[in-house]
């Protein structure tokens, strides 16, 4: 049985998809941000591997092929960016300035935290992309020499927190304009923030969806500079 799993191309992929579907099901049933499909899927697969004594390498035999689609899927974010930009074009200056300020705030926070807690350079670059969409964040972390699985974990937790507390945070900062709300949610909490923004309204959702791609690209540039600071 072990050998069969070890050579199987489809076991790893199937269990990943199945776990994600289970996550989507939980999310639909309980509608709580903590039931993030990706979070559930990761915990589910880890639990299965531990329960049956299957090692990570065996799981990766098939699952590593999923990464083939990563680049084409990330490139497809251009379509999202293009579509969402159309209705918001006239306010592009305010929107881009806000997203840039957010991406910069994130980098400064990580830098301050790295100095306070004495991070290694590896830990520092692992945390730098934590506010952006996983597609860009994971690749960026790997490129700078970070631990990409920890980056993925940090990104998911950021998204869950951002989704759960978005309304309180926006109220705290007295943000009432729909565009500004969307920009805040998308810049801080990527797709999870956008899911919340879509519940609030169409403009909020579009602005947030736009911020996913834009803040990702801004963060790449900012991280290039910030990776030299520590």
């Amino acid at each position: 049985m072990k050998e069969l799993l070890h050579d199987s191309l489809f076991f790893g992929i199937f269990i990943s998809l199945f776990a994600y579907e289970a996550g989507v099901f939980c999310k639909r049933k309980w509608k709580l941000a903590i039931f993030h499909p990706l979070l559930i899927a990761i915990v589910f697969v880890i639990a299965v591997l531990l329960a049956f004594g299957i090692d990570y390498e065996t799981y990766l035999t098939g699952a590593r092929h999923l990464s083939f689609l990563l680049t084409p899927a990330t490139v497809s974010l251009a379509v999202l960016l293009y579509e969402k930009l159309q209705p918001l074009k006239k306010n592009w200056k305010a929107i881009f300035a806000g997203i840039f300020a957010g991406a910069l705030t994130n980098a400064v926070c990580v830098l301050v935290c790295a100095v306070l807690f004495g991070f290694t350079h590896e830990q520092y670059v692992t945390m730098l992309p934590k506010s952006i969409t996983t597609a860009i964040g994971m690749a960026l972390s790997k490129e700078m020499g970070g631990v990409s699985s920890i980056t993925v974990g940090a990104i998911v937790i950021t998204g869950v927190l951002g989704n759960m507390f978005a309304e309180e945070i926006l109220r705290l900062f007295r943000i009432t304009e729909p565009e500004a709300k969307g920009i805040g949610m998308g810049t801080a909490a990527h797709a999870m923030g956008t899911a919340k923004a879509m519940e609030l309204g169409e403009t909020e959702g579009a602005a947030s969806g736009l911020s996913i791609a834009v803040s990702g690209v801004f963060t790449v540039v900012i991280a290039l500079i910030f990776s030299k600071f520590y």
């Binding site: 994600y20 990706l38 999923l66 934590k130 631990v147 993925v152 974990g153 705290l172």
Partner: protein
């Protein structure tokens, strides 16, 4: 047939991204170059949305599943994660509040300033 053409087009931009990644000595992932090139091509009208929309939507839908293997990798990097856990949680909580607040405030302030000057121009 349409899916084949659409996927081919997306793969072309993925490849161009890889090419730039190899040529430019910066730690920028190839997928980012691909994303920017495709966005540019859409803006300039070289590529039309209809030429790749369905396949792009499909890829965006499966995108989150592609991170499951990396996330499961926490099983292996647990040793590296453990000392980072507490500072990371603190960092994530504080910075998520600040990033959301500051990006929203900046956008709001500039939007209102623009509305104000537009309003004055109308008078």
């Amino acid at each position: 047939m349409q899916y084949l053409k659409q996927f081919g087009l997306i793969l072309l931009f993925s490849f161009l991204g890889e090419l730039l990644h190899a040529l430019i000595p910066l730690p920028v992932p190839g997928s980012i170059y691909g994303l920017l090139l495709l966005f540019l091509a859409l803006c300039l009208g070289i590529v039309r949305l209809q030429q790749l929309q369905e396949t792009a939507k499909f890829l965006l839908q499966v995108l989150p599943v592609l991170f499951v293997p990396a996330g499961v990798g926490l099983l292996e990097s647990w040793g590296e994660l453990k000392p980072l856990l507490l500072p990371a949680i603190l960092l994530i909580s504080v910075s998520t509040v600040l990033v959301m607040g500051i990006s929203g405030r900046v956008t709001q302030r500039l939007l209102r300033r623009k509305k104000k000057t537009e309003g004055e121009a109308k008078k």
